[in-house]
Point group: C2
Chain length 470, copies 2
């Protein structure tokens, strides 16, 4: 038996192949715009390039690396391509990836403070930093009754908020099949999915009317709550959105929050994409009223250069969250938890295990500094504003919603068919990728600006394509 | 305005710092055993080493790197330490970390096939490879009605199975508050947590009696189902465990599966840790009866050298899972999904977003080959067997459960206090870390062998410590 078992990658082999992989990623970033944004592959094509059975013997790492070019790249939709304007950005960055190397190397599990003190405390601390950085309400700080936690996605975070809200309502004597949740019809589908997972009745999800900026109408919310309460139903949770997926509409939190509070409902706010804009003081108007929220989620992995997954959930009071999600088997008992002096993040989330995700946020905040983050958010907003202006001035096109932050929603004046044709023609070039939505029943193309590789020249090129194909 | 925005890390800076970080991880692995396994830090101590406010200006990356040694290491419980025998292993590896660098670099979102064809198809393919590699039932292959998906944890996978089971029961006309789930009292706490999240009544979770190997007693299951059915309750899901957390007990699947089927309940099997042992044909006995399962989860991030998070959920029929978890808003509609020719993994999980986790598994399987994985699993089993033998032969100690695979449960013959004193003395050395459980009401120390750095000499050293401190 050799001193070191023969199959593990040795630290020195890791140095060698680590360099090769780092270089591969650097090359990818430097050349990403040479690819089509969306690949031309048929369903099943990528699989057909793979051997049917797993390897019996180890393969040389050269071959694994070569398959990144042979199999992965030709089948990849390039989210970091400067022409990626689909959905919302999910931007990565050098410091984000570097932190993940450390996280994977340590492979610490942060289910309990005990199993990862630094993991736990850096997370709590950096989430408090975000309160400063974004000008969030003081009640979200971990030094008071609240605090923040990193989750994999806003969907999971919203589910956790919903479970806490549900348990609170049940503890007050409500029946599960009577509980109702409310949002605008433009809220993210994760609320509906969360309600389903949490066992609420599908017919008890209210997707309410919006005004002409596509924001929730407080009068619609009040009317729905009144009707439900009269019918013996119980308002459980109201979700407002800071920046809807379709059009970045902002629900009127200052009006919605007090309505939720009067109804005894949990007030959850989803700022998944647009929340990051608050690094710039001039974009904090959108979060006026957030001090009413029981919970708030936004995703640094969308527009704050923090490699997926990093979704931050803040709560004003951590007690109902922890009570809802804590189950303590014998094998997890430990002195630190019993002292009451520590946070055990397993009680703030669905999974038990968790990796050191706070490293990504810590590295990103320190590499960019607040000024760097502000610079790039402002740059994306400026580029989107320029594009919106060009569309507005073009008689063939019109904005389909007020242009806000880094999203431009537009359509062809000739109607849905023309808009859809333009949309398909744009994507067919392979140089850009945009996705669609429907606003007021009409087909709308969305251009989201937020890949970290996107610069002035790329948005100029996008406009030239629109101009040519409209 | 410069051509490249000024704050992003350039590809060349990433090359430079990537090397430094890769070297840092390699050095960490090479020297991890010099650390105490569990650090000597007080609650709040790590936070006290951090500045109170986030940085306004970018910081030099040298300072970030230096803080790994100043802040992170002194506050870290070292899960990759060769003396880490607590809980279950969560072992990482070189190829696992290398794949994560690529995943973070591409930063592709795999919510839909369309948004990540290679991500989706490599995942489906590599999970089919696992069917071969572990000798799993054919019905779990994606080429039939079933298929596999990577989740963050067994907790989340079990929740998804439970939601699918719940929806199936509700569709058959059962009321939510009548649904019951069953497992042994030694099942993982994630079932109880999942039931709570899914809105089942807490009193409808049956944690049933075990036999003297700590495995579920089929007669206890049958009796519980009979009593519940007679009381008008509806069996929703039965969970059996291949390798319980406390003692690696294996529930009798060949008996339990048919009981679940006769009761109309979903049969879910949790092989989170021990499932990986099936890479060795001689350890496949434990999964006899798995062909009855509707769903099965095991975690390559526990004992198969695949950096967290990588938990594999297999289903025999993907339709009920997808039906339970699919919500389709306009902004996610696309031609590929509508063609019915692709898998959209967002419908197989709670979150919407997902990263390219299959890369880790692909890299690991190719680096080690089946033979490498078998070698290391066998080596851990051999080391645990050796330790169990020494304990068995020592008159001061006794095994608290049959030694199985890589886990040894033992106690002091003088009783709980002596066992607890021995346990605390072992951990106080800082050279090893073991956790405890209770079996048949008695305090038991668990020694799990599975860190990838653990070799013969470390298990010898563990025995010497036990011998000295008993």
């Amino acid at each position: 038996m050799a001193d070191r078992p023969p199959y593990h990658m040795t630290p020195d082999e890791f140095r060698r192949w680590g360099r090769a992989v780092v270089d591969w990623v650097a090359d990818y970033w430097a050349t990403v715009e040479r690819h089509r944004v969306v690949p031309e592959v048929e369903p099943g094509e990528v699989r057909s390039w793979l051997p049917p059975a797993p390897p019996e013997a180890p393969e040389p790492f050269e071959e694994v690396l070569a398959d990144l070019d042979r199999v992965v790249l030709p089948g990849t939709t390039h989210w970091q391509h400067p022409g990626f304007h689909a959905y919302f950005p999910a931007n990565t960055s050098g410091p984000g990836v570097l932190a993940d190397i450390v996280s994977g190397g340590l492979a610490t599990q942060g289910m309990l403070w005990q199993t990862g003190p630094a993991l736990t405390e850096v997370e709590a601390h950096v989430l408090d930093w975000l309160v400063d950085l974004l000008g969030l309400p003081e009640r979200f700080r971990s030094t008071g009754a609240g605090g923040g936690v990193i989750q994999d996605s806003a969907s999971s975070a919203t589910l956790c908020a919903l479970v806490a809200a549900r348990e609170r309502a049940l503890a007050r004597g409500a029946a599960l099949d009577r509980l109702v949740v409310y949002s605008s019809e433009h809220a993210h589908s994760s609320l509906e999915k969360g309600a389903r997972v949490a066992g609420l009745r599908p017919e008890n999800v209210r997707l309410l009317d919006v005004d002409d900026t596509f924001a929730l109408r407080p009068d619609a919310l009040e009317a729905a709550i009144e009707a439900d309460t009269a019918a013996g139903l119980v308002p459980c949770l109201v979700m407002a959105t800071i920046g809807t997926t379709s059009s970045l509409a902002v629900d009127p939190l200052p009006a919605v929050g007090p309505i939720a509070a009067r109804a005894g409902a949990w007030f959850h706010v989803d700022g998944a994409m647009a929340g990051s804009a608050a690094v710039c003081p001039e974009h904090r108007d959108q979060q006026a009223g957030l001090e009413h929220a029981d919970s708030y989620v936004f995703n640094p992995h969308k527009w704050l250069f923090t490699t997926f997954d990093c979704s931050c959930l803040f709560v004003a009071d951590r007690a109902p969250l922890v009570e809802a999600l804590s189950i303590l088997p014998e094998y997890l008992r430990n002195a630190a938890s019993e002292s009451g002096r520590v946070v055990d993040y397993r009680d703030w989330q669905i999974p038990l295990g968790r990796r050191f995700r706070a490293l990504k946020l810590w590295f990103v905040l320190r590499w960019y500094g607040a000024e760097g983050l502000r610079h790039h958010v402002r740059e994306h907003v400026r580029l989107a504003g320029e594009l919106a202006g060009r569309i507005e001035r073009d008689p063939r096109l019109e904005l389909a919603a007020p242009a806000r932050l880094n999203l431009v929603c537009f359509r062809h004046v000739d109607g849905d068919e023309a808009t859809q044709r333009l949309h398909e023609a744009l994507n067919a070039t392979g140089r850009v990728y945009l996705t669609h939505t429907r606003l007021a029943g009409r087909y709308v193309v969305r251009a989201a600006i937020g890949a970290w590789t996107t610069e002035q020249r790329h948005v100029d090129a996008l406009w030239e394509l629109i101009d040519e194909l409209a």
